[in-house]
């Protein structure tokens, strides 16, 4: 899948989440502007349509009438769903229009990025530094990357202003509302940054294409992996990092200023007022546990459940942190200390446990398959049971077939058994990629050599053992992940 195909979807998701989040805050500030739930679906689909249409089909020669018809097709259902009441339609219609327009803007920019050579000129593309110049230059109709950053931060500022306004009005959030806002905010952040990174990659790919650069095939995959890691880190920091540690907030400064103006230079803490206006400490009532109310069994279960939920959440946070740390620091995890180390241990432990479970299941399945398949291919089982004389002749072939199967499976993972490699060289190559199974691999290839190259007879039990080891190796190869940290980029 090309990155360009994904970008409009991200743009649409970002447009939708920003508009939805703004609408949510405005709804909280002004209850009259509450949006119905069905509108969200229309916001999302209209954004998707707008982004993809603008990316792939829209151009300067598209008649304005077509654009109006396209917008009308989205506004008309909203009008009908609002009961054809114009007052009810205005706000949802406006939101749909905004979402549609933001998505359209992104789509147009993606289309514009592809025409970069039209603006920079072919002559520029023939110079060595063209790539750099085009990245570093600041003119040419508002560079796309700047466009994306500006939109991202403008949207962020809008949401922050709405949140501050809501906070200053002393509004309180229900759990469901807070959850809604957190989810929408996270979606906006992730989609916005992913769109930013994706658009940048898309732009680079276009530039590299013009410069005829030799781009490593694994770059896009690594890019996605790297961006995912960074996004998790950003998401973690933005959602978990403290937000109330600074003593001099606007509220306190204004309180101090008021105090200075009214009572003189005595500094006092801002009063925490209750509903009736009398000063009291917040949470005072919650902290007092009524003694006469004994916790019943349901209370204990509830307390335990809360404990497990929180423990699970902490575990999950540590797992995510572990994932981020492992992917950021790579092979240097053993140098870590404290919380990062704990997080890495939890991540690795859980990953290992899951892998082992998975391996055990796959192993059992593969053994069953191998035992079932090999005799079918060369009548091995039949020989073993009925014709012991032929058994010896056919058995070594099974070990060789097993090596071919290993090579076939490993070949799918990129570990090709080149004809110029000896079996033991191939074995060493497998051992490098399966360090945990090096003894098993070594054992198999030692046995294989004896079967293949010596003139001595190998016992049936030894051969069966080799087949089992081979099946084990196949399972391990199937679970292998590629490591391309020492790859090659070929250029001509």
């Amino acid at each position: 899948m090309k990155i360009k195909q994904l970008l409009p979807a991200l743009a649409a998701l970002f447009s939708f989440s920003i508009v939805a989040l703004s609408a949510q805050y405005i709804g909280l500030l002004f209850p009259a502007f509450t949006v119905p739930f069905w509108l969200w679906l229309i916001l999302l689909t209209s954004s998707l349509e707008s982004a993809y249409y603008a990316t792939y089909y829209l151009n300067r020669r598209t008649p304005i009438l077509v654009r109006f018809i396209e917008l009308g097709l989205w506004l008309l259902p909203v009008y009908f769903l609002c009961g054809r009441v114009i007052e009810s339609f205005l706000w949802p219609g406006f939101l749909v229009l905004i979402s549609w327009l933001i998505a359209r803007g992104y789509g147009s920019q993606l289309a514009f990025m592809e025409r970069v050579a039209d603006y920079l000129g072919d002559q520029g593309a023939s110079t060595v530094s063209w790539e750099y110049e085009s990245l570093a230059s600041t003119d040419y109709h508002d560079l796309p990357i700047k466009y994306f950053w500006s939109r991202l931060y403008a949207c962020g500022i809008l949401i922050a202003l709405l949140a501050i306004a809501f906070h200053n009005r002393g509004g309180s959030l229900k759990v469901a509302e807070a959850f809604h806002l957190t989810v929408l905010g996270s979606v906006a952040l992730v989609s916005g940054l992913a769109l930013q990174a994706g658009a940048y990659l898309f732009r680079l790919q276009i530039l590299w294409g013009y410069a005829q650069a030799d781009v490593s095939p694994s770059l896009t995959r690594r890019w996605i992996k790297g961006v995912a890691t960074l996004l998790l880190l950003v998401l973690f920091v933005v959602n978990v990092a403290p937000v109330n540690y600074w003593p001099l907030t606007a509220q306190r400064i204004s309180a101090i200023a008021r105090g200075l103006l009214i009572k003189g230079p005595r500094v006092s803490m801002p009063p925490m007022t209750s509903q009736d206006g009398s000063p009291q400490f917040e949470g005072e009532q919650d902290l007092l546990f009524p003694e006469e109310v004994a916790p019943g069994p349901w209370g204990i279960i509830l307390a335990l459940s809360i404990f497990f939920v929180f423990a699970g959440l902490a575990f999950l946070i540590l797992f995510v942190l572990g994932f981020i740390v492992v992917h950021l620091v790579g092979a240097e995890v053993e140098r870590l200390k404290g919380l990062p180390k704990l997080a890495v241990q939890i991540y690795s432990g859980l990953q290992r446990a899951l892998c082992q479970l998975f391996h055990a299941m796959r192993n059992a399945r593969t053994r069953l398959q191998v035992r079932g398949n090999i005799p079918d291919s060369n009548a091995f089982a039949e020989n073993v049971v009925k014709r012991p004389a032929r058994r010896r002749a056919a058995a070594p072939e099974n070990v060789r077939i097993m090596l071919r199967r290993i090579a076939q499976e490993a070949g799918k993972k990129g570990l090709v058994f080149h004809p110029a490699l000896t079996p033991s060289e191939y074995g060493r190559m497998l051992m490098d990629h399966l360090p945990e199974a090096s003894r098993v691999v070594d054992g198999f290839f030692a046995g294989y050599h004896k079967v293949r190259y010596s003139n001595q007879e190998v016992s049936i039990s030894e051969q069966e053992n080799l087949l089992e080891i081979g099946a084990d190796i196949i399972t391990k190869i199937e679970n292998l992940r590629g490591d391309e940290s020492h790859g090659k980029v070929g250029g001509t």
């Binding site: 994306f148 501050i164 770059l219 990092a241 600074w246 250029g491």
Partner: protein, 406 residues
């Protein structure tokens, strides 16, 4: 190192603003914006900057020797010793046009994860003789979000020597075997114990191991073996690259043919096991390593030696020579004749066999040397073209026909 995709200073200032807003109005979105700015514009940029400083780029191949039309892959190794993951690194080698494969320099782009290395391969094609210098390397490093692109040059130079083409001497319209006529051995050589010349009576001081025992037994007097002396023909090739001696219209063709002729002759002589040297009034190109050549009085001189190492040295020098307009060939002969006293055979590669040149050649012949003159342009003394193979002065005309000069 500088440069960037966006105005980083502006965004850093904005981040300070966001931080201020977040601290004053404690809400999660405001703090989120501030944290995002701090991460993206400060922490990530700082880490990437530090990692870029420690990025190592090195060439895996040392000096590279090629013949025209040869193609060679050159490998660079980029190593990231830090924990930072580079989103993308783009690297290009500055390759001279005479070595470029394709129309433009090739750029390789790859991602580089922490504590890993990447090999990048470039291909060069030798087009014409010369000593070239590759590099510096042009490197771009960027992040995931297009915040900053860093560009820097890495001074990792590499010398590529493109030898002049070598032909079989028959392809130069020369006899398939050059025969050197009779000449004096200027230096007394050691007796060759494998070339038994005869026996003589024992004299005081003779070594015991040279006594011929069977003959001694037969004659009842001590007989000593007598050996022939070993004679090795030492050759020096003189190359005339004085601009004034070449016709203007054929200057490039003539000089290249002369250089090719010298390369082919040296190759032929070295393959025959002769000791061969070079003297020329040419100048060396900018990148040529002058320490390989004993430069004397403005002339290039390589003393006669045998072996493939000598051939490599002479061809390396020939790869980098250029014509000059200060020192005439006759001056060169006057000044450098004494430096090549030991050489028995002189091979002169010149554009024309002028009467002065022939007269000078006769003078050397009289001193016991053999002079072979290879004319690349115009032969004035046709009678010498058909002289006997035993003659100490011979003239050969190098033909421009065939594949030598296109």
């Amino acid at each position: 190192m500088s440069g960037g995709a966006i105005d980083l200073t502006l965004w850093k200032v904005l981040t300070f603003l966001f931080v201020g807003v977040a601290l004053l109005w404690e809400t999660r979105p405001a703090y989120g914006l501030a944290y995002l700015g701090l991460l993206l514009f400060f922490i990530f940029q700082y880490c990437q900057g530090k990692a870029t400083e420690r990025l190592m780029v090195e060439r895996l191949v040392g000096e590279c020797y090629l013949f025209p039309d040869d193609t060679r892959s050159l490998t660079l190794q980029v190593t990231n010793p830090t924990l930072w993951n580079f989103a993308w690194i783009s690297i290009a080698d500055r390759i001279p046009a005479q070595l470029m494969t394709g129309k433009r320099p090739k750029r390789s782009v790859f991602a580089l994860s922490s504590r890993s290395s990447q090999e990048v391969t470039f291909q060069i094609t030798a087009r014409e003789r010369g000593v070239y210098c590759l590099g510096p390397l042009d490197v771009f490093v960027g992040d995931f979000f297009g915040i900053r692109t860093q560009r820097f040059g890495v001074v990792q130079e590499q010398t590529v020597v493109v030898f002049p083409p070598i032909y079989q001497i028959a392809d130069l319209a020369l006899p398939a075997r050059l025969s050197f006529g009779s000449f004096k051995a200027l230096w007394r050589m050691h007796p060759d114990p494998t070339r038994l010349a005869g026996l003589r009576h024992y004299q005081e001081g003779d070594r015991l191991r040279s006594i011929h025992w069977p003959a001694t037994a037969r004659t009842q007097t001590l007989q000593v073996k007598q050996f022939d002396h070993t004679v090795t023909a030492t050759c020096v090739v003189f190359l005339d690259l004085y601009k004034g001696n070449y016709a203007v219209s054929k200057f490039h063709v003539g000089t290249e043919l002369a250089i090719t002729t010298v390369a082919s002759l040296v190759n032929y002589l070295i393959q025959r096991g002769e000791a061969c040297g070079l003297v020329s009034n040419a100048i060396l190109a900018e990148y040529s390593s002058e320490n390989v050549v004993a430069s004397h009085e403005g002339a290039l001189q390589i003393l006669p030696r045998q072996g493939i190492a000598q051939l490599t040295q002479i061809l390396t020098v020939l790869a980098g020579v250029k014509a000059q307009e200060k020192k005439d060939f006759l001056h060169l002969l006057t000044e450098c004749a004494h430096l090549s006293e030991g050489a028995a055979i002189w091979l002169w590669v010149v554009p024309k066999d002028t009467p002065e040149l022939i007269e000078r050649a006769w003078n050397f012949v009289k001193k016991g040397r053999q002079v072979l003159i290879f004319v690349v342009d115009e032969v004035c003394h046709q009678e010498l073209l058909h002289s006997s193979p035993d003659s100490p002065l011979q003239v050969f005309h190098i033909s421009t026909e065939g594949a030598i000069v296109s």
